[in-house]
């Protein structure tokens, strides 16, 4: 497609930032999911979307944007981070497109670009790389207000990776890699 024939967003009259979609297609193939090109905008995904009412996520709009080449714009859009991961859109899509997984891929791209990761992800990553789990064992209150941890409840220790150094080293290596081989 030449520059002149590319799709223009009629609301802002902007043209999509040029994105190489081959990498997206390659990742989607590994995940076994259909290309967003197959989406015919039936909006079944959006009608069941758990984040639509409160956070205005519209999976069919995201698919329309990606299909039209506005991939980079979607990568940088906050709205992707409101996806709950309930998988209703994937389950109900008549075209085997999976908005939820396409959004995971786009979020991966956002993170790979080095921009700040939203919410508690940074903290969860840090815990995972130092303890092996997303959070430390919490002390919780029983119905008499007494604080309890695993030990007090006679639950066995859960140790995490035996060689924590090796484990965190390999995770940091993976953090800069992608699902597909180049």
């Amino acid at each position: 497609m030449t520059e002149d024939l590319s799709i223009t967003d009629l609301f802002s009259m902007s043209k999509p930032v040029k994105t190489d979609t081959r990498s997206l297609e390659k990742q989607l193939r590994i995940l076994g999911i259909g290309s967003p090109d197959l989406c015919f905008q039936c909006s079944k995904c959006t009608s069941g979307c758990e984040a639509m009412k409160l956070l205005e996520l519209e999976p069919h709009s995201v698919m329309a944007s990606v299909k039209s080449g506005f991939v980079q714009e979607m990568v940088n859009s906050d709205v992707l981070w409101s996806c709950i991961g309930c998988y209703k859109c994937k389950e109900r899509c008549p075209q085997n497109v999976s908005p939820v997984e396409i959004m995971y891929v786009l979020k991966n791209w956002y993170v790979a670009s080095g921009k700040p990761i939203p919410g508690d992800y940074q903290m969860m990553l840090q815990n995972m790389m130092t303890k092996g789990f997303i959070q430390e064992n919490k002390e919780i209150l029983d119905d008499e207000g007494i604080s309890k941890d695993r030990g007090a409840l006679c639950l066995p220790d859960i140790g995490g990776p035996q060689d924590m150094n090796k484990f965190s080293l390999i995770i940091s290596r993976i953090a800069v890699e992608k699902l597909e081989s180049d």
Binding site: L55, I84, K90
Partner: protein, 288 residues
């Protein structure tokens, strides 16, 4: 004859939803499932799908490999872990490139090798398909006699292609188990609605509001209690029910139990051994 099963509790159950883990350890051995604790495990990677899908795949494959090397099938009480593990298995089986890539990383780390021959169970299919309703029924000493709303949780039932513990629309295994325990359960229109818990990472207020909406829907339909099989659900529907009540401006007061706690109650187990003193929702009034 007892069947051995490696227990993979996952992050949320093992670090805060102790009542789920306690009831599992109390109840399953009596139902013929011998639970084996496995060392060297880590997060399944599910929370990091948004960050890096290779990281998720690696972490799930790593845990599968550890169980596999000990010749154990895997049982995880967490639907998120379960989905991450089975979808990793599917991806690794389908893409030899990915399998090679992940295996070379695993080998490098600590001599682990992923083959993908383990069976992976979640609480719901373990109880319904492996233990079976007959076995559960034999153990019931105190029929529940409550009208209970089942909340399977999103990833327990979706997505079908991955192979889930129950079907995606009108799931029924949990209802059958509740009926076996002497309770009543029926499908309700909000059953498949999400509890909101995964939003706690990025949108805390919305997460709690969704929990409030779900609880209200259940209460308004006249159910006396709710049964869950997901530690993320427990995190908001039970542990944060007071805050969820505030978001909808109404005192909810709905007892929320883990399914394994309800089985324990019907077996006549001591409530403390099932961690019922750790539930934040008002479970006590139904135990009299």
């Amino acid at each position: 004859m007892a069947r051995s099963m490696g227990l993979y509790p996952g992050c949320v159950t093992s670090t805060e939803q102790y009542n789920y883990e306690m009831s599992i350890r109390e109840v399953l051995p009596e139902l013929g499932i011998e639970l084996v604790d496995v060392e060297n495990t880590s997060c399944c990677g599910s929370p990091f799908k948004s960050i890096n899908l290779l990281m998720q795949t690696y972490l799930s494959a790593r845990n599968i490999a550890i169980f596999e090397m000990q010749g154990l099938d895997m049982y995880t009480p967490c639907p998120q872990c379960h989905l991450s593990l089975v979808e990793t298995k599917n991806r690794m089986n389908e893409s030899s490139d990915l399998r090679e890539k992940v295996n070379s990383l695993l080998m490098e780390e600590e001599g682990l090798k992923y083959k993908g021959n383990v069976n992976i169970y979640h609480t719901l299919n373990l109880l319904h398909d492996i233990v079976g309703l007959d076995m559960i029924s034999e153990k019931v000493k105190r029929p529940l006699g409550m009208n209970i709303a089942c909340h399977e949780g999103c990833q327990t039932v979706r997505y079908t292609e991955a192979g889930r513990p129950d079907r995606s629309e009108h799931p029924e295994k949990m209802e059958r188990i509740i009926r076996t325990l002497g309770g009543t359960a029926s499908y309700y229109s909000d059953e498949l609605n999400c509890c909101g818990a995964p939003l706690m990472v990025t949108h805390k207020e919305s997460a709690i509001t969704k929990a409030g909406e779900k609880l209200k829907a259940v209460k308004d339909r006249g159910f006396e209690a709710m049964a869950i099989v997901c530690p993320f659900g427990g995190r908001v529907l039970d542990s944060k029910q007071d805050r969820a009540s505030e978001t909808i401006g109404e005192k909810i007061g709905l007892p929320v139990f883990y399914l394994t706690q309800l089985i324990g109650i019907s077996m006549g187990k001591d409530p403390t051994s099932l961690g019922l003193n750790l539930n934040r929702s008002p479970v006590g009034r139904l135990l009299k």
